[in-house]
């Protein structure tokens, strides 16, 4: 046990390594160059870009379209990263470095969209709304991870729990013809799988990654098996009712934000409610303090009379509930039907979002949204007829995750006892 040295001086050195300074400055100048050569010089003067600020299919909360002159906008968007890049090279931004790189990247993305949509229109609000929905399963998956890992249990089984949840949600929803009962089914299936994870990893202390892998393989096999055996031969078992949009009176009318957050799917509401609930529960309640203590230093918690095993069970089961809920989103909140492998790796991406968000609900949600946005922007650009091949465009969310992780986020602070079984002596 190495003792951490005490802080000698509170003055911190926000020194960015010179190579990094140089590198980021060049990156920012390159961004400016790309906007200039790629967009500005290909734009006719006097064209307009129209951004529609109301998503389609919405009749409340309308907002006037936002029309901007394309060329001047693009020129401004060139100047911003250029100035940032120059300042970065000459002086450096210190603490604000990452933010400035982010700003430059935003200029690039916004410039791209503005340019692509020059002379026509693009529904910006729709894109945002889609991004939020695309972020939902990832964010819920990340929440699931936060809950369990904050108590020191690694949960890579989120994908499996989500897959099972989506299948059971569809099945039960179809049988009962009730989306809510279906959702309960999805949640229960997540709960059951997480119970297995808990028993294996907490009681039998088997390696948590192995335990998670067990559940992932089991779920993939079992859902495919049941799907082939029953759902495909009997469509009636695979057509649950769908949760539809529920506008929140008053709030739904707010332009732009209304459609995004207050006139949407029940799962979006649940995600935001969970964000607040988990954030508050973890950091402001007795229960959360104890849960985190178990994830940081289970022996210390034990000596204070906290039941480590029980707390971990609770956390893992809650994690399963949230993962099951996320699973339910696919069949009950999105498409109303199960097909094999339909979670398409969202659980793993959720896990990435959790790490990315530093094991915090708010961070996890941010990461989920970055992912959702990358995905939505990619589709939008393809739709506008982008020159980038769709396969390459589809890489965007993954590339962005990697770049952000590599460049702009420090090493995460995983809970200290994450992944370690607790051995009571």
């Amino acid at each position: 046990m190495t003792t951490r040295s005490q802080i000698i001086q509170r003055k911190k050195i926000y020194e960015i390594p010179p190579t990094r300074k140089l590198f980021l400055g060049i990156v920012e100048l390159l961004i400016a160059l790309v906007i200039l050569l790629g967009f500005v010089i290909n734009t006719e003067p006097n064209t307009l870009t129209r951004f529609v600020m109301t998503p389609g299919g919405i009749d409340i909360g309308k907002m006037p379209d936002w029309v901007i002159p394309t060329l001047p906008t693009l020129i401004i968007l060139t100047i911003i990263p250029a100035l940032i890049g120059l300042y970065q090279l000459v002086r450096g931004f210190g603490r604000a470095t990452n933010g400035m790189v982010g700003l430059s990247a935003l200029c690039l993305i916004f410039g791209f969209i503005t340019w692509q949509a020059s002379g026509t229109s693009v529904n910006l609000a729709g894109m945002f709304t889609s991004a939020v929905l695309l972020a939902v399963p990832i964010t819920l998956g990340a929440f699931s991870g936060v809950l369990s890992e904050r108590a020191g249990v690694v949960n890579i089984a989120i994908e499996g729990m989500m897959l099972m949840g989506s299948m059971i949600g569809s099945l039960i929803g179809s049988i009962t013809n009730n989306a809510w009962i279906g959702l309960v089914g999805a949640i229960l299936s997540g709960l059951l799988l997480s119970l297995i994870h808990a028993i294996l990893s907490i009681k039998y202390k088997i390696n948590q990654v192995i335990s998670g892998t067990v559940i992932n393989i089991f779920s993939a096999g079992m859902t495919a098996f049941i799907s082939q055996k029953y759902l495909q031969t009997n469509q009636a078992l695979n057509s649950p009712p769908l949760f539809t949009r529920i506008p929140i009176p008053g709030l739904a009318k707010i332009p732009l934000l209304g459609p995004m957050f207050f006139n949407t799917n029940v799962f979006v509401y649940l995600t935001f409610i969970l964000l607040i609930v988990i954030q508050v529960a973890l950091f402001s309640t007795r229960w959360g303090l104890r849960l985190r203590s178990v994830g940081e230093h289970p022996r210390a918690a034990d000596t204070l009379g906290i039941d480590v095993i029980r707390t971990r069970y609770e956390a893992v089961l809650l994690s399963g509930i949230v993962a099951g809920l996320a699973g339910g989103f696919f069949t009950l909140g999105s498409v109303g039907r199960f097909n094999e492998g339909m979670t398409a790796g969202k659980g793993f991406i959720g896990l990435a979002a959790m790490i990315f968000g530093n094991w915090r609900p708010l961070g996890a949600m941010g990461a989920g949204l970055i992912f959702g946005f990358a995905d939505a922007i990619g589709s939008k650009l393809l739709l506008l007829g982008s020159a980038i091949p769709p396969q390459i465009m589809a890489m965007a969310p993954y590339l962005i995750t990697m770049i952000v992780l590599a460049g702009f986020i420090g090493k995460g602070d995983a809970p200290a006892a994450d992944g370690e079984p607790y051995e009571k002596e």
Partner: protein
């Protein structure tokens, strides 16, 4: 087997060219089968048709599923037995072919371009076995394989024309699963249909999601599993004003259907089979479907093996020979004026007659 209860209906509705001839034995066979006493005899003599799906799986809402429906129809109508194996990966093709040859299948139906090599090799090694492959043709033709291909842009053309006529916003949309020819041919035909409408009527209907100039450009989900993605693509198209959408992406298209159903101000165009029948929950928004009658052609091939007329070669499904079709408008036929219907019929004739030439 998908959509079991509904399976019979389309069989009645499909006026496949040679179908009436076959329907005779239908009535008799089941009657003979009923008595349990004959079980051993039936088991020995039962005619076995085996399908190997590509990696999309039997419930792909696309060619695997449609071809299997042909076999299912044959099971009910001709009293044959059917089996299938779902490929998990490319290496399974050859293995499954061997397994079915071992099993003594009378006809092996494989699905998709990607099984082409393996099917050809198996056919060469087993000249006495009969094969058929969906969505692939051999050049030169192989003696014991029937390749079934489809000039799908013909029926998609009709769909495009209809869509252009129906749209109120002047914008229609499409997206695909992957930018591959069997997918993009739908999108291409669709766009050409819309363009033809514009040409004839002097309108300016726009198609989002596909670029005639460059078949690799366009809107694709890059996945045949992720229905949520399909949903968001449809939403995105609707946001940009599209009110008729044709998803060419297997089950991912059902995600789009869900989105359209929710918005309620756009229409869906199904692909491969008549979605009004295979996905009845979206019947109210299904304008029509670009049908690729792989079930009918597969059924034909089974029949030909049964009655000993099987010869290798390629069948090209076209509007002319009934291998392609535009599905009825069902609940939405009100949207189609008699005039428009007449135009569609005319266009179909023109295509058959070669007056309208697709690229």
């Amino acid at each position: 087997a998908p959509a079991a209860p509904k399976a019979e209906e389309p069989a009645v509705e499909e006026p496949a060219v040679e179908e009436p001839v076959v329907e005779e034995p239908v009535a008799e066979e089941p009657v003979v089968e009923e008595p349990v006493v004959e079980e051993p005899v039936v088991e020995e003599s039962k005619f076995l048709v085996c399908q190997i799906t590509d990696t999309g799986g039997i419930d792909d809402k696309s060619f695997n599923q449609t071809a299997w429906k042909g076999i299912e129809d044959a099971i009910t109508d001709l009293g044959i037995e059917g089996k299938y194996l779902e490929s998990q990966e490319v290496a399974d093709y050859e293995k499954y072919l061997n397994a079915f040859i071992e099993e003594g299948c009378d006809l092996i139906v494989t699905v998709g371009f990607l099984i082409g090599d393996a099917t050809a090799a198996a056919a060469e090694a087993n000249p006495d076995n009969n094969f058929s492959i969906v969505d692939f043709a051999y050049d030169p033709p192989v003696d014991n394989i029937v390749g079934q291909i489809f000039q799908t842009d013909e029926s998609a053309f009709l769909a495009g024309y209809a869509a252009a006529a129906v749209t109120k916003t002047g914008i229609v949309g499409t997206f695909g699963g992957l930018p591959i020819p069997t997918v993009t041919i739908f999108m291409k035909g669709f766009v050409e249909g819309v363009n033809y409408y514009n040409e004839v009527k002097g309108t300016d209907v726009v198609v989002l999601g596909y670029d005639l100039e460059d078949e690799t450009k366009g809107l694709f989900s890059m996945d045949f599993d992720d229905q949520q993605k399909g949903r968001e693509l449809a939403v995105s198209l609707m946001d940009e004003g599209a009110d008729v959408i044709m998803p060419v992406a297997g089950p991912v298209g059902l995600g789009a259907a869900a989105a359209i159903q929710e918005r309620g101000n756009a229409y869906l165009i199904g692909v491969d089979s008549d979605w009004y029948l295979t996905a009845p929950e979206y019947g109210a928004i299904t304008l029509t479907s670009v049908m690729k009658m792989m079930d009918a052609t597969t059924f034909q091939v089974i029949e030909s093996v049964l009655d000993g007329t099987f010869t290798g070669g390629n069948i090209v499904g076209t509007l002319a020979n009934g291998g392609l079709e535009l599905a009825p408008f069902h609940d939405l036929s009100d949207l189609i004026s008699a005039e428009l219907q007449a135009e569609l019929d005319q266009i179909q004739e023109d295509i058959i007659a070669g007056k309208i030439v697709l690229q």
